[in-house]
């Protein structure tokens, strides 16, 4: 045999895998039928009961909505951070500082309790009541539209805001890294063609930055799927982990419920990883095998002390 160590390693792995499968199959405390088939008389397996499926829907919805806030706001904050305007860039800096410094769990609880600050939330003039008093109007509050705070800032919305606003801080840093990774010559060429700043960003810089942005964003989305379980502390009940915990509390079955949750999270993240593969392929246009091969060739030349072609020195 040419590689004895390799075969030994293979053998060890085979034994470990066999032991794991053996555990899954023979240990009846997993209670697979509880998970998949029937958890109480006449009911479906715990993975597929109505409340758990609703929780799953909530988890998906929460992931999508908070990531939408995170990505949208993150792009805006990244652009602000890179702006030449000092005020805009400092606002962006303070934002990222705050939301990266506070743990998501704390944020979730905080947002769940923010409605203590206000009775009602609405749009209006700042210092409306005080201005009203100034002009002798007692009932004036300067509000155009308002709703009860506890209606708006509770449950799902509070959880979504806590996760979305926190995510925006991380996404802002990812987008900033992406934008900064693009050669300055790209925006120069675009500007020289008469493009506006917005066009340069939309048509030239961001599409290229996406190559750098997509992989860490995939990470963020997958992390978000799992972080949605934090909103149980808002509290939000419309969520997978909370719903499974409820089953556990009702039936006193612990481990199979955890395994059920684990399986659902695995499925969700697998779907996301497949999606990421296709998104990456889309934004990798123009960086195909030929370009890669050429780059590799160039790298080899450099390693061997040869000259770099195609990269000139500035004046």
């Amino acid at each position: 045999m040419r590689h004895p160590a390799r075969w030994v390693g293979l053998g060890v792995i085979a034994i470990l895998v066999a032991m794991f499968v053996h555990l899954l199959v023979t240990n009846d405390r997993f209670r697979w039928s509880f998970i998949f088939l029937e958890y109480q008389d006449g009911k479906r397996g715990v993975m597929f009961t109505e409340p758990v499926l609703n929780g799953l829907r909530g988890t998906i919805l929460l992931t999508i909505s908070s990531m939408a806030i995170g990505i949208g706001l993150g792009i805006v904050i990244a652009i602000m951070r890179l702006s030449e305007n000092r005020i805009l860039s400092s606002v962006a800096f303070v934002y990222t500082w705050f939301f990266r410094a506070v743990p998501r769990l704390v944020l979730a609880v905080l947002f769940g309790n923010l409605n203590i600050l206000w009775e009602r939330i609405g749009f209006g003039l700042p210092f409306g009541t005080q201005i009203g008093k100034l002009f002798g109007l007692d009932g004036f509050d300067g509000q155009f539209y308002s709703i009860k705070a506890s209606d708006l800032l509770a449950g799902f919305v509070a959880g979504m805001l806590a996760l979305g606003l926190s995510e925006a801080a991380y996404m802002a840093e990812i987008v900033r890294a992406g934008i900064q990774s693009i050669d300055e010559g790209q925006s120069e060429a675009a500007v020289a063609l008469g493009m506006s700043r917005g066009q340069v960003l939309r048509r030239v810089v961001l599409p290229q930055a996406m190559r750098v942005i997509v992989p860490p964003t995939g990470n963020e989305i997958i992390a978000m799927v799992k972080d949605t379980s934090l909103v149980a502390f808002v509290p939000v009940t419309f969520e997978l982990w909370f719903q499974l915990q409820q089953v556990s509390a009702r039936t006193f079955v612990v481990l199979p419920v955890i395994v059920a949750a684990l399986i659902w999270y695995l499925i969700l993240c697998t779907v996301l990883m497949v999606a990421q593969f296709f998104v990456e392929r889309h934004f990798g246009k123009g960086y195909g095998a030929a370009a890669k091969a050429r780059q590799r060739l160039r790298d080899i030349q450099v390693e061997q002390g040869g000259r770099i072609t195609g990269v000139g020195e500035g004046p």
Partner: protein, 255 residues
């Protein structure tokens, strides 16, 4: 309106911080002329070129292209910088080709050429497409329209970059060391395209080290060093009979 001067620079100054790069440049390029700019690196020639389309803001003096002040508006004897939109509008009619091509790597060759006329000028797509295809044909890349820049050689990329600039129908073309990043055997194909352009009457300002090109195609040659124009004249005169010591020293090194 066609002015009798396509480019006019009066006493142009430019500093980066405390470093003064341009110390009073004067230049006139007439329509249809090819003006080559020669000089050692660090002489400010690229910076000057970038001032012509306001990629760099000048600190003093003025630059006019086709009779129009670039980047500024004169009101009451004072210069006010133009807004982003107005500068962008001026840049549409000034094509620029860069040393490192700067093609958009995520777009095909054809899309690179079509991008600006479609997005900036909002011309009809079909018309731009026809024009772009014939431009690419003209620079000898009719076969490569569907390729991505990463699949092309440096010389081919630079020819696409020229076609991309021409697609905006500029009245002036600026070339910033267009062949300096190329392998020697690829320089010729780019220079050939530029010669063709010159023969068609395009006004060009070319920063270059290609003395042969300057002599053959240039109507005018300026030699810059240390942020000033040391010498100017017809290429033949300057190259064969330089008046200044610095010009002589530079030419003796590159020839």
């Amino acid at each position: 309106m066609t002015a009798t001067e396509m480019v006019r620079a009066d006493n142009v100054h430019k500093s980066f911080g405390s470093l003064e790069v341009l110390k009073g440049i004067d230049l006139v390029v007439k329509p249809g002329e090819v003006c080559c700019v020669l000089g050692p690196s660090g002489s400010g020639k690229s910076t000057f070129l970038r001032c012509i389309n306001h990629l760099e803001k000048i600190n003093a003096g003025r630059i006019l292209v086709d009779g129009e002040l670039v980047g500024y508006r004169e009101r009451g004897g004072k210069l006010h910088e133009l807004g982003e939109k107005d500068v962008a509008k001026q840049r549409r009619s000034i094509g620029m080709v860069f040393q490192r091509f700067n093609l958009f790597p995520h777009m095909t060759v054809l899309d690179n050429v079509m991008e600006a006329p479609c997005r900036v000028k909002r011309e009809s797509k079909a018309e731009v497409r026809d024009r772009s295809l014939s431009l690419l044909e003209r620079v000898g890349l009719g076969e490569k329209v569907g390729n991505y820049p990463g699949q092309l050689s440096g010389g081919q990329q630079q020819r696409v970059a020229i076609a991309r600039a021409l697609a905006m129908r500029p009245k002036l073309m600026l070339f910033d060391e267009p062949t300096s990043a190329l392998d020697p055997e690829l320089v010729g194909e780019v220079l050939d395209v530029m010669k063709g352009l010159a023969q068609d009457g395009m006004t060009m300002v070319v920063v270059t080290h290609e003395i042969g090109f300057a002599r053959e195609v240039g109507d005018k040659l300026i030699f810059m060093d240390g942020g000033v124009v040391v010498e100017q004249g017809t290429p033949r005169d300057v190259i064969t009979n330089p008046q200044h010591e610095r010009t002589r020293a530079f030419l003796s090194k590159v020839l």
